[in-house]
């Protein structure tokens, strides 16, 4: 296997739950991310899926060092981001950038496209005015926007175009890792396709490592090399995208995959659905053992005893289910 470019080791992000107005008392802990480990090679696209509240966004933000990790390491190209000083971290940020879900909220409405892109460039190195002009124009072309829009404000663009601006801004500092948190969820289907194509193309051309966070499994399957499925702060399954989708190992992944509607009436009729009962449990008070066991069809007494580790199932796939071999 190629050398790991990004290595996440036993990453934990816990949030305190406090009560009281002045004398705050810690009454509990939300384990939003609770022991996540994986590694990515250069240029790899990882799809991170899971339902709302499973911690996928918090994981993304923790890797980005936007939220300090409670425990664990994020090693990017040999540097542990979690242990860098404030100053070093700021310098290192040029290597990793983030794209957010809502292109209406993530761009400053008072900055033109030029200002937004130029600010990002100036933030990380000294750069001459003429070079900025040149590079802004080149960037806009790269993301499929005409450079003549350079003096326009975000409100003058459509949602898809704004997401292109957000992508251009992330690319402005020439990062090596991009985390895109639900980048197409706010867009219409016909516009989604444009952004998915663009991200796939950029990743290929620039050897960008991409973590694509989404709740939409069909989008993730399409763009990713590998998929990691999260449930209540942990990765429960990880493997090559096609395999995770077609032959899921973990009972939760099975239910998740079968719940995704397919826009094909014939196939829809023939499908066997695994309908889960109940809702995902609260991360404030997770069930003992495997967090999925109360909703799982294959659960045994053993499942509530210990939290199952993410273990190798075969050469490329890993799953966190003690009965994985029995049920597959």
């Amino acid at each position: 296997m190629a050398e790991a470019f990004l290595q996440v080791e036993n990453l934990k992000t816990h949030f305190p739950v406090e009560s009281g107005m002045i004398l705050k008392k810690r009454v509990g802990t939300v384990r939003a991310v609770d022991g996540v480990s994986f590694s990515l090679t250069r240029g790899e696209i990882l799809g991170l899926v899971g339902e709302s509240g499973c911690g996928k966004s918090t994981l993304g933000r923790t890797i980005m060092q936007l939220i300090p990790p409670t425990e664990g390491a994020v090693v990017l190209a040999g540097k542990n981001l979690a242990s860098l000083s404030k100053q070093d971290l700021r310098a290192a940020r040029a290597d990793f950038q983030m794209i957010f879900q809502d292109p209406y909220a993530s761009l400053n409405p008072r900055m033109t496209v030029f200002d937004a892109l130029a600010e990002a460039m100036r933030a990380h190195r000294k750069i001459s005015a003429s070079e900025i002009n040149e590079r802004v124009a080149a960037l806009m072309q790269k993301v499929g926007l005409s450079p003549r829009f350079v003096k326009k404000y975000p409100h003058e663009f459509s949602g898809g175009q704004r997401q292109r601006i957000a992508i251009a801004r992330a690319l402005a500092v020439e990062p090596k890792l991009i985390i895109a948190d639900e980048p197409v969820s706010a867009l219409d289907v016909s516009i989604q396709a444009q952004i998915i194509n663009l991200l796939a193309k950029l990743s290929r051309e620039m050897q960008l490592t991409l973590i694509f966070i989404s709740h939409d499994l069909s989008v993730v399957k399409h763009i990713s090399d590998r998929i990691a499925v999260m449930y209540l702060g942990r990765i429960v399954e990880m493997g090559p995208a096609a395999q995770v989708f077609e032959k899921p190992l973990h009972p939760y992944t099975k239910a998740l995959v079968s719940a995704v509607p397919i826009p094909d009436p014939e196939r829809e009729k023939q499908r066997q659905r695994v309908i889960l009962s109940g809702d995902p449990p609260s991360p404030l008070n997770p069930p003992a053992g495997c967090a999925f066991h109360p909703r799982c069809a294959h659960t045994t007494a053993e499942c509530s005893r210990a939290v199952p580790e993410l273990q190798d199932f075969d050469a490329s796939r890993r799953t966190a289910c003690i009965r994985a071999r029995e049920i597959n």
Partner: protein, 325 residues
């Protein structure tokens, strides 16, 4: 006779920036017990179509410019408010996208749930509460007798949507209009809600209009589908042929741009440009500026006409037999 027949519905919004033609000549019908899907991108007029029928369009700025919506012999668009109130919430019920904001946070579920019964039927409160508990059980809420005393915030999103469905169905309506009811929910919860609606429909034989931007949901649930674009129905027909043999170039392009239907990693088909600004008048086919098959003839008037593949298509070139799959 169809349960509901909508003819040439036009709903315009008169704003300071011009006349927004949100719904521009929509006709369709739905039979008893049938499920009709309305799909389209945001702003295509799917919701406004249904809101217009129920008199839920704020007027002004909205105005129903023309059309009829005949429900069991009554034209909903011309009905007096008192007459409409007898139908809305009783014979036609509606559920909305966001179960978080469509329940009143200050009222116990019990009071909201039985409100339609108290309004529309002569019934004692005690009996209504019994029916309310039954309705909650029917939608799969456990311990309903106690849960009915809870407030909406004590329920999760999926549970709140169940409460909404229980409330909509408590008067045993003939038609349920569901406006993106699962869009705000997780996929596993979405699957639960879809199964629930299917089951309730089979048990009670009611018709359902399901509005969604998600073609997958519609494919699995609906018998017929209307595809909307820029305030018009551009294609309409049985679900199988809408997906199997799309005729209208917009419908074709839409199917080609969905990752779920394409081989993994393949470049997705993209539709150039953006949906038209419906506040600017245009002639001819609204999709023509983005259509790869557009020709001079597309600037002329176009109507939804039945074709030979079982669906009706609003494309002049398809109607002339010039575009074959």
């Amino acid at each position: 006779m169809p349960l509901l027949e909508v003819k040439n519905l036009r709903t315009y919004f008169h704003t300071r920036n011009g006349v927004v033609r949100a719904v521009d000549g929509v006709s369709f019908e739905i039979e008893k017990g049938q499920t009709l899907g309305i799909v389209g991108e945001s702003g295509s007029g799917k919701s406004v179509t249904c809101y217009s029928m129920l008199g839920l369009i704020p007027q002004p700025p909205g105005r129903i410019e023309s059309g009829e919506a005949i429900f069991d012999g009554v034209d909903l668009l011309k009905a007096k408010p008192a007459e409409l109130r007898q139908i809305r919430g009783k014979r036609i019920a509606m559920i909305f996208q966001d179960p978080m904001t469509s329940l009143n946070p200050y009222m116990r579920v019990e009071d909201q749930l039985i409100e339609p019964l108290l309004i529309h039927q002569k019934i004692e409160r005690k009996r209504a509460v019994e029916l309310g508990v039954q309705a909650l059980q029917d939608v799969g809420i456990q311990d309903a007798a106690n849960r009915i005393r809870s407030y909406p915030h004590e329920f999760s999103g999926g549970m709140r949507q169940r409460v909404m469905i229980a409330m909509a169905l408590i008067t045993k309506p003939d038609l349920l209009i569901a406006d993106e009811p699962t869009t705000a929910l997780d996929v596993t919860v979405q699957a639960q809600i879809i199964e629930l609606v299917k089951r309730m429909q089979a048990e009670r034989g009611m018709a359902v209009i399901w509005i969604s931007h998600d073609l997958g949901v519609v494919a699995g649930l609906c018998q017929r589908v209307n595809v909307m674009y820029a305030g018009r129905v551009v294609e309409s027909g049985p679900t199988a042929s809408i997906f199997r043999t799309p005729q209208h170039p917009y419908n074709r392009a839409l199917q080609k741009s969905i990752p779920a239907l394409q081989p993994k990693g393949a470049e997705l088909y993209t539709i150039a440009g953006m949906p038209p600004d419906v506040s600017k008048p245009f002639v001819g086919c609204p999709f023509a500026p983005r259509c790869e098959f557009a020709q001079e003839v597309c600037r002329g008037p176009v109507e939804l006409k039945p074709g030979d593949s079982g669906q009706a298509t609003a494309c002049v070139r398809v109607q002339n037999g010039e575009l074959k799959l």
